[in-house]
Amino acid sequence: MNSIVDKLYVLSRSQKFRNLIIQFIFLIFVGLFVYYLISKALQLDITLGHFVSRAGFGISHTFVVDYTSNDSRWFAYFTGVVNTIRMCIVGIILATILGTIMGVARLSKNILFSTISYLYVEILRNTPLLIQIIFWQIVFLQLPRISEAITFKDTVVISNRGILLPYASSTENGYGNLWIGIILIAIIASLFLSFYINKREDIHGKVIKLYNFKLSGNIIGLIIFFTIASISFFILQKPYDIDLPSLYQNDKGTYLQSGGFEFTPEFGAILFALVMYTGTFITEIVRGSIQSLPKGQTEAALAIGLSNYQTMTLIILPQALRSIIPPLTNQYLNLTKNSSLSVVIAYPELFMVSRTIMNNSGHALPVFFLILVTYLSLSLVISIVMNILNRRVTRIGA
């Protein structure tokens, strides 16, 4: 009898047993809380059944997909997702370029250049993104009215309805989508090929040579891509053509514009604001990473006769990239989430469209979970891509 009490006493003093008890009690509380939430949620409609019904609202900006108000809510949501993805890809690329240039500029010996970078960061980083979006919208709306639109020989039309640029459009022979498909396959194939050749060179040291000229995997990939693209372009009899924007008056005297790539004030405002705002944070990341490198790197590069530009692109930036990428990923995720702020100027991306659906249907909770899942998967994709990049960057020279 005594021994059991002793054993229990020993057990109760052991760390493992205590940890188990603590976790058990914790889980009971969490479980009760979750049970409470779920029981409340079950009182609401948490199915997405209403998503198959007719959307009934128009979307002013569509890209690639042809949406009309007679389509289902799923399709409306999908249109929003496409708009978000488009915004994120363009925004991420531009913000990275801007941030890198400004980050290098901040450390430049040229006082004018570094002053611009300093002013840019200190002014734009410390004002809310929302204000910047509204600011750019006001600026874009102050462009001349469409009756006084600025045109450059029928290639660019600038007015406060948007900026029209020349763009490619599919011709009537109907091979446009086929050609896009071929291009996508060509991109994937040439990526794999160049990857394989580079790896073969890395591991086995085998090099493909053409008359003493080394062909690296990247060059071969590019050549193959352009060959496939151009050959299929001619075989399919010009599936795409250049589409010039035009501005004309109809018989009532109303000005109309058509054709080309339309860069609307809303898209421009949100893109400008996102790029400028995220660019400030990227600037600081780039600056910090460059400053964290030992000064000897620059001195050594200059000592072997590299120019300032070569020092930066060949020595400093590749090394700084290792400490840049993890915080950069964070900024990309922020940009993706911040794109939801375009709701303030009614640019119909994912969040704006879901808000309309919430208002129309009255079922907010399931739509919110859909938003959550979509943003989480977008974040996941960005993280995975950046992790692959990070692994490649840290591998070099390691």
């Binding site: 611009i116 410390n126 004002t127 204000i131 969040f351």
Partner: protein, 387 residues
């Protein structure tokens, strides 16, 4: 003089690339200055002048306006005393602070309120002088520090007492700059302690606690703040318990709940970085001293972890302050909403959105830049401490 020319030539036109950069920079600066000058020459600030009260307190009834000034007095005493006690400001800092305060006062002072503002300016100077007087003796200084910390903790209750005591206006009527500051204070005041708890939870060795905290943090960070605010707008009341009328909470309280939860998740991630930077030896040393878990955390781990991440924490707080402008989604009239609405109210102000927006942006900017300078200062002083 010859050296100066040589230096100038080499910095601006040292190489072809450099020359191109100089010319480009000149063009950009020219456009920047030109557009600013153009804006200043055509701007009319009357839209801001007649709407000062709206910018400061939004739709709060004018008869309750007097409640704002005691808050300003307490805040100005606390801020100036803290700057003197912990900041050890240089003359440049003081000049910057004085300039900022003056401009903010110019924006908000009308003929009927200048006495109140003057009083708070006097309190600023008084608190600075008296704190520097106290600072001469070490014991009095230490006592003063304790009092200040206590006051900072009590600041939120004080603000709420002043705003709600007697027949105070309903929270839904709060607005303008006051609302932004209250929301930011609440979000940081509740979000920071919660964030510490979640960070400890996520760094815990117990799998159940770790997983639950991780799920919480990642879910909150997964969706943008506007989406969470929209959720609060639609369904939060249905999830709150149905006694004491909690489920009919006003929109402001919903915004506070969401902002605090959001801040806690982001703060937790920052503090987790600090926890990871603690050398293992510290924890082992604490264990070998037979400190309990709570003692180990409060006395050994957290002070070091938070110290390391103070700059990152401050930038998170700046982010939270800027994010308070998102409450437009709950139909609250915060500073930015007031700034958007006032040019539309009167045909006289048509097309004066930029002026209103500029003032709003400046008010956000001046607070953020002060905090960001504070963080730079802390970063510097921390660097000295480590080496």
């Amino acid at each position: 003089m010859q050296n100066f020319y040589k230096w100038g030539f080499e910095t601006f036109f040292g190489s072809v690339f450099n020359t191109i950069i100089t010319l480009l920079s000149l063009i950009i600066l020219f456009f920047f200055i030109n557009s600013i000058l153009g804006f200043i020459s055509t701007s009319e600030w009357k839209v801001v002048e007649v709407n000062r009260r709206l910018l400061l307190i939004g739709r709060m009834p004018p008869e309750h306006e007097y409640r704002v000034w005691p808050i300003l007095w307490v805040a100005s005493y606390l801020i100036m005393a803290s700057i003197k006690t912990w900041g050890s400001p240089s003359y440049r800092d003081l000049l910057f602070i004085a300039l900022g305060i003056t401009i903010v006062c110019v924006i908000f002072t009308t003929s009927s309120t200048y006495l109140w503002v003057l009083t708070s300016l006097l309190i600023c100077i008084f608190s600075y002088v008296i704190t520097s007087f106290i600072g001469k003796s070490t014991t009095a200084n230490n006592k003063n520090k304790k009092i200040l910390i206590l006051l900072w903790i009590l600041l939120l209750p004080i603000i709420f007492t002043i705003l709600l005591i007697g027949d105070g206006p309903k929270p839904t009527l709060w607005g303008g700059f006051l609302l932004n500051i209250i929301l930011a204070c609440i979000a940081i005041g509740f979000g920071f302690p919660l964030g510490i708890l979640f960070a400890i939870g996520r760094a815990s060795t117990l799998p159940a606690i770790k997983i639950v905290c991780t799920i919480y943090i990642e879910t909150i960070r997964g969706a943008p703040l506007v989406a969470w605010l929209l959720l609060a707008w639609f369904v939060l009341p249905k999830f709150l318990p149905q006694f004491w009328g909690i489920n009919e909470v006003s929109v402001v309280v919903r915004a506070m709940i969401i902002l605090s939860a959001f801040t806690s998740a982001y703060t937790a991630e920052v503090i987790r970085g600090g926890l990871q930077s603690i050398p293992k030896g510290q924890i082992e040393a604490a264990d070998s001293l037979n400190l309990g878990y709570a003692n180990k955390m409060v006395l050994i781990v957290l002070p070091q972890a938070i110290r390391v991440v103070i700059p990152a924490l401050i930038s998170t707080f700046i982010g939270v302050f800027k994010d308070t402008s998102l409450v437009f989604i709950l139909a609250l009239t915060d500073l930015l909403q007031v700034g958007r609405i006032i040019p539309e109210q009167d045909p006289e102000f048509f097309g004066r959105q930029l002026e209103a927006l500029c003032v709003v942006a400046f008010l956000f900017w001046i607070i953020s830049i002060s905090l960001s300078n504070l963080s730079k200062k802390v970063e510097k002083s921390l660097g000295i401490g480590i080496r």
